[in-house]
């Protein structure tokens, strides 16, 4: 004869989308019910209510996580952020080398100046620029740390996707809108044209643009 508590419990659990096979749910419910006698109806009902609320909580949590679009964070935002940070390191390194080259030239010129007061002042200024240029090393190390942190976040997001099943986080499954690409969330008609500075090797060069525009 069918156990009404068992059937009710199974029905409630199946109502929530918790990625479990029916056979697994039946096994779980049977193992729980073994511990209760026929007269423990009140206890069974309390247990039923608790399991129902846990299942409801898991379902709500999955919905909230899906609305965060972790697939998009992993595939788009994290790699883009890491690329931009790498580009900052590359650009500041190049700029620092340019500054150092100019200072080295200035230093050579100052050696030919006969007035020692003037050449000393130039040398002092050049030294200060050398000292200031060490910022590139410090900022480079700090940015590397941020990139490492982003990679750590990416691994965690990966695990999250794996734990809950990737399909539920796709836009069609959640009905969630694609996250705006701008940090301030403002959407505008030319949003697709706003890419910021191109990374090295991407986009087109000034020469290519001049050729396209017909400039010399």
């Amino acid at each position: 004869m069918a156990n009404p508590v068992r059937e009710e419990l199974l029905e409630k659990l199946k109502a929530f989308d918790i990625n479990a096979q029916d056979s697994d749910l039946e096994a779980l419910v049977d193992s729980l019910l073994q511990n209760f006698g026929e007269d423990a109806v009140e206890t069974n009902h309390k247990l039923l209510a608790e399991i129902g609320s846990v299942a409801s909580y898991i379902h709500d949590m999955k919905t909230q996580l899906a609305s965060l679009r972790p697939d998009e964070i992993k595939s788009d935002f994290l790699p883009t952020a890491a690329d931009e940070l790498d580009a900052i390191v590359g650009a500041t390194e190049q700029a620092t080398h340019n500054i150092l080259s100019a200072m080295e030239t200035l230093e050579e010129v100052s050696e030919k100046i006969e007035d020692s007061d003037v050449s000393d002042k130039i040398n002092d200024a050049v030294t200060q620029v050398y000292e200031a240029c060490s910022f590139q090393d410090i900022t480079g190390q700090r940015i590397s740390r941020v990139v490492n942190a982003l990679q750590h976040v990416e691994i965690k997001v990966d695990k999250l996707l794996g734990a809950f099943g990737g399909e539920e986080f796709l836009p069609d499954a959640t009905g969630a809108k694609t996250t705006p690409k701008r940090a301030d969330g403002v959407e505008r008609p030319d949003e697709d044209l706003l890419n910021g500075p191109q990374l090295p090797g991407e986009g087109v060069s000034q020469d290519d643009i001049d050729a396209l525009m017909g400039f010399d």
């Binding site: 150092l100 200072m103 050398y130 240029c133 910022f135 480079g140 190390q141």
Partner: protein
């Protein structure tokens, strides 16, 4: 009069080329012109085993061999154990300083640093110049 040989061979080690260039230029301003460069600990060790240097000025945070590992390798090598070694690094936590001291570093400069600090540390290691 200076007791320091201003033509002594110095090896500077850093994975940031800008830092190598800055340290080289600051050393030049102080009168040291015989300066070689390496971009990590293992290439530095190769250079140290191929030529006799009087001083190493090394960054800590490098791959695959760090400045601390380089220092330990030097101290474990009969030919390099007495080599003067200055660590120049942003790693300024107490445990880092202690680890470098225990490994036998001669002096320790925290980044960012200025020319005056570099000169002061060179005098502490090499003597007045």
């Amino acid at each position: 009069m200076s007791d320091v040989d201003m033509n002594m061979p110095i090896l500077i080690v850093d994975d940031y080329k800008t830092m190598l260039r800055i340290v080289r230029n600051l050393l030049k301003q102080l009168g040291f012109n015989n300066v070689d460069e390496a971009t990590d600990g293992s290439s530095a060790l190769q250079k140290l085993r191929g030529k006799q240097y009087s001083l190493v000025i090394s960054d800590w945070n490098m791959e695959p061999m760090s400045g601390l590992q380089l220092l330990k390798e030097c101290r474990a090598d009969a030919h390099l154990k007495d080599l003067s070694f200055i660590m120049v690094t942003a790693e300024s936590k107490t445990e880092n300083v202690i680890a470098a001291k225990q490994a036998g570093v001669n002096n320790y400069i925290v980044k960012p640093f200025n020319a005056a600090t570099l000169k002061k540390k060179l005098i502490a290691v090499l003597g007045n110049f």
